[in-house]
Amino acid sequence: MDQVTVSVDHHDPFATPGALTPTGARPIVRAVDLQKFYGANHVLKGVTLEVFPRETICLIGKSGSGKSTLLRCINFLEEPTVGFIEVDGLRVGADPLHARNRAHQEQIRQIRLRAQMVFQEFNLFPHMKVIDNLIEGPIRVKGQSRDQAIATAERYLAKVGLAEKRDEYPGRLSGGQKQRVAIARALTMEPKVLLFDEPTSALDPTLVGEVINVMEELAHEGATMIVVTHEMAFAREAADRVYFIEGGQFAEVGPPEQVIESPQDPRTREFLARTFGKAHVPG
């Protein structure tokens, strides 16, 4: 199989299955040699990432380093310029010249069903009640019956602790509640992997905790997650591996104890020093 060849050639040099991963597991998400140009601006310079089932991966780095672009390439909200994505055995290559081609779009849709995203700005549908936000995907996309979708939605809504907000409009929820609803919406699609794009960056500091709690619970239950975040406490607590991105490439990768507690690369050190302020003494 050419898949094996490619996987040898492009194997993520940093990928070591986390503690929860059974030995011999195959990665559930692979992003291989991803490159992204915006015009002449080279944003991603060939990154390869493998995530194993039940792992939580954190992508950290300065704004503009390419971490969100990488995440958005995984579910093709950005069409990569070069490289391919594989989620749960479905491989879709970058096809920037035919990005709107019908067959390619259908493949992308299949990737998205497997990799659900939680956005920084929540992006709940404001004209739908919470419950309708949650059943829209299962009914329209997965073809579930309304009753079935509502049952699933109520289960996940309870999981994020918002069962009583079932019939509210998103406009009446706090930012933290909105983000928890957004997480529940992603969960109702029962994806193979959850993608989080700075899920707490738009939140009032006092509301970050409730979202982080939900995410940590998911991580500990064995959800596969790729998280772009500035919350180092979350990365330290929940991540199996932390990827530090700088200038569109991985500068340092390893378990959080290494990357966050005792970074080897001077660029990582500088970034962490800025993030934590002067109080932080690495290592």
Binding site: R100, N123, F125, P126, R140
Partner: protein
């Protein structure tokens, strides 16, 4: 003299003053509210009085001039007023049809398909590039040359809606483009197809944004509908015009028509204001 903390003693205090002889905050707050209410009331009274003086003065001056026939109102007023249902019917039908035109027009203007985009753009360009009155008469008088004969009412409604549809097309397009990109992305990320994204996520929100504009256009439409009198639809202006020319009392007839349009505009504007207020207060934030 229990609480003499640097201020005057208990004896010198009234209930509206605190220990320092200053007014209590709740008293000040109440006074501010009362003075605002008084100012607001005064404003409204003077506003109404000014209108009364201007409009009333005009009416009295006309009545005194001896050049206006007061019996005209009794004789021809009902005839003109009977045009109101026609005017409203034409306007309502036209705005509904215009919204349909605009919906397709906007989807065309947002399309990436070159011919569809071209057709929609041609529609907007042609309609906005020619006068409404020309379009109305064209449909009624020019199309029959090609065997397309429409009755006055369908002609008028078609012309008005075709015209307003083009202007609304651009408003709808702007409404769709005003929906934050994240809404489309969230729907895409769920795996929704382009068609459902439009129908389920984008359009319902865009319609909320453009509803006030539709209301405004409806109000304009009630007045522009006077133009369909040219194709002999017997709405308010047609009736006023005919009554006026038959009796050589154009001034009286047109004054009645003007008053009717004005009154309709005021009523619809108030309704529009209430609708907008209700939408602003709703839970649904776009």
């Amino acid at each position: 003299m229990a609480m003499g903390v640097g201020g005057p003693g208990l004896a010198g205090r009234t209930s509206t003053e605190d220990a320092f002889g200053l007014a209590r905050p709740e008293v000040i707050v109440a006074e501010i509210a009362a003075s605002r209410a008084r100012a607001g009331f005064r404003f409204r009274v003077i506003f109404l009085l000014t209108w009364l003086v201007l409009v009333g003065g005009l009416v009295i001056a006309l009545a005194q001039s001896g050049k206006v026939d007061p019996t005209f109102i009794g004789k021809w007023g009902p005839f003109i007023i009977q045009g109101i249902p026609v005017t409203i019917f034409v306007s309502l039908c036209s705005i509904v049809l215009a919204v349909a035109f605009a919906l397709f027009g906007a989807l065309g203007r947002l399309s990436r398909n070159p011919p569809i985009y071209a057709v929609a753009t041609l529609y907007v360009s042609m309609v906005r590039g020619t006068p409404l009155i020309v379009q109305i008469i064209f449909i009624y008088l020019a199309l029959p040359q090609f065997g397309i004969v429409l009755d006055p009412l369908p002609s008028g409604i078609l012309a008005l809606s075709f015209n307003y549809g083009a202007y609304l097309t651009e408003i709808f397009r702007a409404g769709v483009e005003a929906i934050p990109r994240g809404q489309r992305e969230a729907a895409q990320a769920l795996g929704m197809q382009e068609r459902s994204i439009m129908r389920r996520v984008i359009l319902p929100q865009a319609i909320r944004i453009v509803t006030p504009a539709i209301g405004n256009d409806f109000i304009s439409m009630t007045k522009d509908s006077a133009l369909v009198s040219y194709v002999t639809i017997q709405e308010v202006f047609w009736r006023a015009n005919n009554a006026g020319t038959q009796t050589f009392r154009n001034f009286e007839a047109l004054m009645i028509a003007a008053a009717v349009y004005w009154a309709m505009t005021i009523v619809f504007s108030l309704a529009q204001e209430r609708l907008e207020k209700r939408m602003a207060e709703s839970d649904v934030r776009v």
